[in-house]
Symmetry: C2
Subunit: 455 residues, 2 copies
Amino acid sequence: MLNIENTIDRIRELIENGDNEQLRTELETYHSADLADIFQELKPEERLACITNINEELASDVIEYLPPQLQVEILGDIDENLASRLVSKLPHDEAADVLGNMEEDETEAFLENLPKKFSSDVRELLTYNEDTAGGIMNPLVLTVYDNMTVKEALDTIRIKAEKDNMELYYAYVVDKSSHLVGVLSLRTLMTTPVDLNVSDIMSKDIVKVLVDDYQGHIADIFMKYQFNALPVVDLYNHLKGIVTWDDVQYIVEEETTDEIFTSSGIVTDIGGDDDDILTAGLLHSIKARTPWLFITLLGEFVAVTITSRYDKTFTALPVIAAFMPLLAGLGGNIGTQSITLMVRGMSTGQITLSSGWKYIGRESLTGLSIGAIFGFLVMAVTWGWKGNVELGLIVGVAMALNMTIATMIGTLTPLLLKKMNIDPAVASGPVIATTIDVIGLAVYLTLVTWYLISF
Amino acid sequence: MLNIENTIDRIRELIENGDNEQLRTELETYHSADLADIFQELKPEERLACITNINEELASDVIEYLPPQLQVEILGDIDENLASRLVSKLPHDEAADVLGNMEEDETEAFLENLPKKFSSDVRELLTYNEDTAGGIMNPLVLTVYDNMTVKEALDTIRIKAEKDNMELYYAYVVDKSSHLVGVLSLRTLMTTPVDLNVSDIMSKDIVKVLVDDYQGHIADIFMKYQFNALPVVDLYNHLKGIVTWDDVQYIVEEETTDEIFTSSGIVTDIGGDDDDILTAGLLHSIKARTPWLFITLLGEFVAVTITSRYDKTFTALPVIAAFMPLLAGLGGNIGTQSITLMVRGMSTGQITLSSGWKYIGRESLTGLSIGAIFGFLVMAVTWGWKGNVELGLIVGVAMALNMTIATMIGTLTPLLLKKMNIDPAVASGPVIATTIDVIGLAVYLTLVTWYLISF
């Protein structure tokens, strides 16, 4: 990796000096992924100076590595013929992603400027939902026919791979009507006698996805079977494209972000990418964040209602109020730990619905043990500090109970939600924290009341 | 994907009937990844019946897909010669992982039973830290020499790929002392005239990692450059192995789990995998979970100390106490949202240290807006409910202030931690939640006091 700050200073200097020759030489020493990192730190006019100065192959590669909003910005700012040339050098799926992020009239203008075949391929890709196999796949697939020999197949691959700049993973075998009938690894092709028939050596057990399969499903299949690429077919088993492992990296990253955001009570399905929540308009941000906060508000009003009933307790023994945040805070934290362990375990596949229930006992025991330790600590401190052994005892016992109950709720709720086919990640944030708050306060104040009545 | 419950019932029935022939036929219809899923749901003795019944190639494949504790369990339970044969059929890196998870004397026993070359390769792999390139890489690399022609290189690849069951990604070019000097894509090899020299067509700009590079670094490089495989070299540039994209899937999953656990205040670097926290002994679990809870305890005692000073307020106006959980709960939630957005943005690379500061204003505005909405709601409800406009006003204003401050703390802290080279994920959980609790209470109680004095 490169020291980006020094590099940027040097590039800025070259731009200021207007030394285009040397700027070009300097820029072209970097890998396109590094240039994309550099471009992100530059000002818009600096970026333009750079992109128009490097060769078009490299410029197109750099655009592929940039985040969506920058892709659109740069292509809108440069000369429209250059922009069309750069887009036409992108892989089809990437070109569709870029054009899909533009305003509709801009997209149309680009499509009209692009080479005919490319433009119609991209147009087809744009009809698919961007979160499905159709929206992710590359329609350029390395195919051979089932009636070829290995030699013919190898020759075909050589020509196609050279012409279309294709990545080689597997060769997919189709019949004359483009139905997917088999798959061949390059290893098999390269190590098999050249006069055998493709149909005799191909594997017919094909793991494939449908054009409208959702991306989460596709990622699950990749993670499970560990393929480099999967073929995408329509309902008639016509081969439409391939999804490759690098597409899946992005899917997994997006799905993980989704899981993490959902766990924090951020709503992710209000349109736009998850990344947009920080950068999109204020209204978008408010829409993403208020729903679960509102649920929390309702929950906490229950807590207020319960607590309100103890007016007399607070009047008689006001110190009781002071310990409420302590109990709520620790109960919430240990409960969140349990939820996190369960939700993550479910999403990595370590915890299944059938194996999950055994963790309840285990987690309760952990909660009880830690609760006992912390209950004892709190009791000791409270007693020493307030000089009141009964108060210490009440707070300590409430703490132990509270932490145990919190782990139980934190373990059980994700399992119950999963059982009801609700995404367990929604459990992890606000709702459970509030529930634990309410129950914790109720336990504590009940203990207090019971003590005040008894003594 | 398969309907696992029906399948398991059918397999159980076949095991009970002792119909080994049919059990074998049934099991061998599944992909090894599916069998691994099935095995995880079976009881230990059922698993044994299955693994000893299928052919050894398949059995070894299934073991590769199983989670570590099951791998060790099964290999310990079956006949020791069969176990050795199954291990010797695993890829070297996987064999090293499996043996590395056993007790030391078991590992030694296996190593002595394995074929000599295999055993010494695995022994070398076991010397590397399992979180570094050396611990992840496969030492079997497809290499060609720099003085070969394309034809010689292709012939070499054909033979090696067949013999060693190797995945084909790139061919790495070494000189006669095994120094890595170039890389060739198979596409280049297959589409270049066969009489050219390898050294003339190979790429010399090689992105590579060192044997002791940590896995997070390796994953970053994969995500950035989008390679299928990366060569691993030692300090003398000797080629030692390759890391492939499917290894990276696991690294990314592990690093994400780490990030998520750390954010919830679970300590992940106390030895063992993160997955172990739920399954390991009670003591391990307590060690992972108490440190941040203890910090929370200290923080919350600060809250108790502050709140204790308002004894007289609670005596005079006990309803004040009832609203404390409401304020703490909502402040904590909106603060957690901000932290999550920042920490996740940093870990996906969307937010950098240089670009991060601009989000503070944006987040504060979001906090202020949502705070104003919720403050108004709470004021209205409190006023209507308690019939006390001043109380409503105090709670409402405290709510708005609290939510604004919480977003600011939640945005700023991860940036400051990053600036100080501390993992920002540690900010996300307990510490900030407690800080927000303390500040929220202080704001609220100050407002209350100011009101009680003024009126």
